[in-house]
């Protein structure tokens, strides 16, 4: 990341974001700004609200208080605004969520054709480039059910990238993978981070965070307990809860 990009206006702004599930207070006033090209890693114990938070960015979950502004658009109930944000925001899920009735290529080209209104030829050309980028061009005509988990997740990344989003959201992208497949997915994500993509990643992969994160946020009980660069978080965490959590996940 060049210094110039870092000083850019923030592309995601969250101010005092709250979310309740019934009486359960899942997000308790989250404040965060993400600049263009920044790679943000969110980590924390399960139930800490990190997945809920990342899903409020593209309105898969609705926040009930505070404001979220993505690429200059304020998230409200306005469906058109929500769809505009979703077009500019790619998302990769823990369970891949590929469309099982479509081939790999059709998974990738569906949204460009139906939402961006590209021609099929154009969409497939870009789809093929993306499949080469994630390393599986030979799987284009297969169905998701015929691929390994790691391959499926790489297709999911390609599918999100096909819309040429400005922001990529990753919700625990490697948590459902067998250990030997985690690396192939992380390699793609590292390459993506190096290319200058703005990324928000919920993950427990601390090696990945150390390698590419600009800022790390530690979530616990619906709040941001601590944030900082990887050097600060790993080298000199201020909060006891952060230290305890890091010692638990780094102990083996």
């Amino acid at each position: 990341m060049s210094e110039q990009d870092r000083t850019n206006e923030p592309i995601i702004i969250c101010r005092d974001v709250h979310k309740w599930y019934g009486h359960y207070h899942a997000l308790r006033g989250i404040n965060m700004e993400v600049r263009k090209g920044e790679v943000v890693v969110i980590f924390g114990p399960s139930g800490s609200g990190k997945s809920t938070f990342i899903r409020t960015i593209n309105r898969l979950e609705e926040h009930q208080r505070g404001e979220i502004i993505v690429d200059g658009i304020r998230l409200t109930h306005d469906v058109r605004d929500i769809e505009r944000i979703r077009i500019e925001t790619g998302m990769v899920f823990q369970q891949f969520n590929l469309f099982p009735h479509l081939t790999v290529m059709d998974n990738i080209t569906l949204a460009p054709i139906w939402v961006r209104r590209w021609s099929r030829e154009q969409a497939e050309e870009i789809g093929m480039q993306l499949l080469k980028r994630v390393g599986i061009p030979e799987q284009a005509r297969k169905y998701p059910g015929q691929l390994s988990g790691g391959q499926q997740q790489r297709v999911a990344i390609a599918r999100a990238l096909a819309m040429q989003p400005k922001i990529m959201l990753f919700d625990e992208p490697t948590s459902a993978l067998d250990p030997e497949m985690i690396k192939e997915v992380l390699d793609v994500m590292i390459e993506l981070a190096d290319s200058g993509m703005t990324m928000m990643v919920v993950t427990h992969e601390m090696g990945f965070a150390r390698a590419v994160a600009d800022t790390m946020y530690f979530f616990d009980q619906g709040t941001i307990v601590e944030s900082g660069t990887p050097e600060q978080i790993f080298g000199d965490p201020r909060e006891d809860r952060t230290k305890l959590f890091l010692s638990q996940i780094l102990s083996h």
Binding site: V79, E83, I87, T89, Q95, N97, H101, P144, M163
Partner: protein
């Protein structure tokens, strides 16, 4: 595996063996499947005896006592009811076009299964041999049409896919126009009033119209039931629950008697009223089946579609419905089969479809007391069509399967 290094490039990797093959002699198969234990052997003997007795009785009756002439003499009635002889060619035209379309589709989507296609093509020729004089030429044309369609599919192959789909879509309205006609005696296709429609022709028309119209209606109702708009949702729920709480016969009666009361001054054709009743009835059941399919789709599919920026309609049409409908193909076809058989209930409101014709034939003084022959024949026709529908659904399922997941 100490010696494997030298041979590893030639032999398959260590431990990889071909699966065991099971081969049986006829006697071996019999012993394994029918006489494995003493009670299996006993059951085999008892059932064999029962089957032989029944089959012999049936064969004896069918070959010596049954008076099959009742079928031959009334074949026309069974097939088209009182549809005028002068316009029968229009029904034949529908059959010929259907054969053409089936032949074409078989070639395009049948994955080159020639045996079935040839059997299908030869069937009309075989029927032509035993058919009555007037049916021979049309049957020959039908067989030829089927083969021409099949040949066409080889000539242009997959490129005809789109044309074939359009042809199917156009086919159904075309059939209605052909069968019903329009205008007076001087028009090229004079109107044939629906009270002359009957027999298998009417049964199939009721079924096809029932399926073609109740399917989209049922899908819309299912989506309505899941809608977040309270009015749409409650209207859908009320419609579905009310219709499902009423027997089809009641719906048919209401369509016949009450529709004219509700719409005074407007006369709706009797057959159309019956069709409306069947469509409205079937749609409610379909809606519940489709809802079952929708509920089987994981939340992640909705989320992935939304995250890509698809709006609700695109999400439903491109992502959710294709998967939901695929998952319920067996249920859908089961319901269409039930609908096909339920069309026999229109007898109650005075329409002479296949079952109605059967009753009318049995009332003829010449053929009193021939219930066994007539109903057996009708059952065979119903059975044949139900079998075709169910076989088609199994092919469709295999065709649409995309591996595990």
């Amino acid at each position: 595996m100490t010696t494997s290094t030298s041979t590893s490039s030639l032999a398959p990797p260590a431990g990889v063996l071909p699966p065991p093959t099971e081969r049986y002699t006829v006697l071996g198969w019999l012993r394994k499947n029918l006489f494995s234990t003493w009670y299996n052997a006993l059951l085999t003997v008892i059932f064999a005896a029962v089957i032989i007795l029944v089959a012999r009785g049936m064969a004896e009756w069918a070959l010596t006592q049954a008076r099959w002439e009742v079928i031959g003499a009334n074949l026309r009635l069974f097939l088209v009811g009182q549809y005028p002889a002068a316009t029968t060619w229009r029904a034949w035209a529908c059959v010929v076009l259907l054969a053409l379309l089936i032949g074409l589709s078989w070639g395009i989507w049948g994955r080159g299964q020639r045996a079935g296609a040839i059997a299908l093509g030869v069937l009309p020729f075989a029927l032509a041999l035993i058919a009555q004089e007037e049916a021979r030429v049309p049957l020959l044309i039908t067989g030829a049409a089927g083969l021409i369609g099949f040949a066409l599919s080889f000539w242009r192959g997959v490129r005809l896919q789109r044309i074939a789909i359009i042809a199917w879509v156009v086919y159904f309205p075309l059939v209605i126009v052909l069968i019903s006609g329009f205008g007076g005696a001087d028009s090229p296709l004079p109107l044939v009033p629906t009270n002359l429609w009957g027999g298998l022709l009417l049964t199939l028309l009721l079924t096809v119209v029932g399926i073609v119209f109740s399917f989209p209606l049922g899908v819309l109702l299912a989506l309505g039931r899941q809608s977040s708009l309270p009015i749409v949702r409650s209207l859908s729920v009320i419609y579905i629950e009310v219709v499902r709480g009423v027997p089809l016969i009641t719906v048919l009666f209401m369509a016949q008697l009450m529709l004219p009361l509700f719409l005074p001054g407007v006369t709706i054709d009797r057959v159309v009223r019956a069709m409306a009743g069947i469509v409205l009835f079937s749609a409610a059941y379909l809606a519940e089946n489709v809802r079952g399919g929708l509920q089987a789709i994981p939340r992640g599919q909705y989320e992935a579609a939304r995250a890509l920026g698809l709006n609700t309609w695109k999400m439903m049409l491109l992502i959710i419905l294709p998967q939901a409908l695929k998952a319920i193909i067996p249920i859908l076809v089961g319901q269409f089969i039930a609908l096909f058989k339920d069309t026999s209930l229109v007898v109650i409101v005075g329409l002479l479809e296949l079952m109605g014709i059967a009753k009318a034939v049995l009332a003829q003084p010449d053929f009193l007391g021939l219930q066994a022959e007539v109903y057996l024949f009708v059952a065979l026709i119903y059975g044949l069509f139900c079998y075709l529908m169910s076989a088609f659904s199994q092919r469709l399922e295999r065709r649409l399967s995309t591996g595990r997941a």
